[in-house]
Chain length 237, copies 2
DNA sequence: CTTGACAGATTGACAGACAATCTGGACAGT
DNA sequence: ACTGTCCAGATTGTCTGTCAATCTGTCAAG
């Protein structure tokens, strides 16, 4: 199948040989990049044409995203890209704070040299990117930072649960804007996390992680509230 | 379709109208009741005959279970009921402790009268069932207790993440045995949780929940280790 | 302006088919 | 007797086509 070869060459995730996994990945990317917007209906046949695969494959991929909470399937109306209310966003960040707090604590307890090094590396790159105002670099470094932190806690379940949460948070950010103003504050926070982990202070590491998530939550929620308020006034007048 | 009517009457979950959801639910029950054992291969066509539905429906349901971690699909070999190592079991309980600790803390903070009442009711029934040595009643009361606790924290994400964890823990219990000896100790622990929530002591509630999970983890892991050791000696000699 | 019915669109579900891949066992070579 | 190779059956991955059930929007009638 040339279609399959095409897809494989397009994303090349190596150990994602099945079409449904590739479709799921592509859909995730499309949703998280904003190509598919929250609240948008996903018509199966359109997705078929878009991705060049058959309906069963699309449907199986959609079940995976459904379980991750990225799409919401309502019976006989089909899948919709998940939307989120402000209250749910608050819950989302609260859940993330709990899990990432645990991850930080465990990282501090284990102090795996390789993990500490990975986190340090990501931090260094983050600082460099921030200094150069390189937004893409910042995003990449931050992804690596979180990846090391979450992977370093040595708990596959925490890791597995955090991934959908992060996905939905980036989905949330699509709705509002990215916050360039927060970079410096964020930088201080993650540096504090790293120091706490490096020194093996579990309590401090947990608290730093929680504080970091909460600060991010405040910034994001503030922006969302402002955006929705703007929309409200727009629709009102 | 008589098959569909048959299925609907069989489980009657009311708001589970789609076949795939019913199949997913039935598979969950079969796995958690031990009908389908951990490590067992799930041949799609056999499942089709067993449930009286077509292969696409089975496959879509399997994707849902796959995302929950209840089955593990390896490419070109098909789905297998998830197994779990002792180390993973430890991680599983650690993750549960974090989430349920949060749930307890939040219940204590919110102190929703209805939630407190639900938890108290479940506790009363649990005590009665324990006094009567009614294992089934104990299980049901405990399920209600956890349901109220987890639902009472007011965080849909925590709730959503905990369900698969609980499922996998009961799956774990299938592997080993149920522990009748722990009932009294467990009863004291959950009573402590309730008191802490009732009094609004967030710290205490969190600690009680965590301690409870950890105690359950010790008991369960101990039993699993003993069982696997027995199997090892069996296979060794 | 509201209500009702109808048509189009879309999902839910099924059957059947075929290629790709894995597994187990037979067979040959040493 | 042991090991490596190869083949056939079994199973999954995926597609196509089909049909019923349900939703949605439109249009006419009151």
């Amino acid at each position: 199948m040339d279609r399959r070869a095409e897809l494989q060459s397009t994303l090349r995730i190596d150990d994602v040989p099945t079409v449904r996994a590739m479709v799921a990945q592509k859909l995730r990317e499309a949703i998280m990049s904003g190509t598919l917007k929250p609240g948008q209906r996903l018509v199966e046949r359109e997705l078929c044409e878009m991705m060049g695969v058959s309906r069963p494959s699309i449907r199986e991929a959609l079940r995976l995203l459904e379980a991750d909470g990225l799409v919401n399937t309502v019976p006989h109306r089909g899948p919709v890209v998940s939307t989120i209310s402000i209250d749910e966003a608050r819950q989302l960040y609260a859940a993330r704070a709990v899990l990432e707090g645990f991850a930080g604590r465990e990282c501090a307890r284990l102090r795996d040299p390789q993990v500490v090094r990975q986190i340090g590396d990501a931090l260094t790159r983050l600082k460099a990117a921030a200094a150069k105002q390189d937004l893409g670099g910042c995003l990449e470094a931050k992804t690596d930072f979180y990846g090391a932190l979450i992977g370093g806690c040595g708990n596959a379940f925490i890791q597995r649960m955090l991934k959908p949460l992060h996905d939905r948070i980036t989905l949330l950010r699509i709705t509002s804007m990215s916050q360039p103003k927060r970079i410096n504050k964020s930088l201080r926070e993650v540096t504090a996390i790293w120091r706490a982990i490096q020194s093996g202070d579990q309590e401090l590491a947990e608290r730093c992680c929680i504080d970091h998530v909460k600060a991010a939550a405040v910034a994001a929620l503030d922006m969302i509230e402002r955006a929705s308020a703007g929309q409200a006034t727009l629709s009102d007048g």
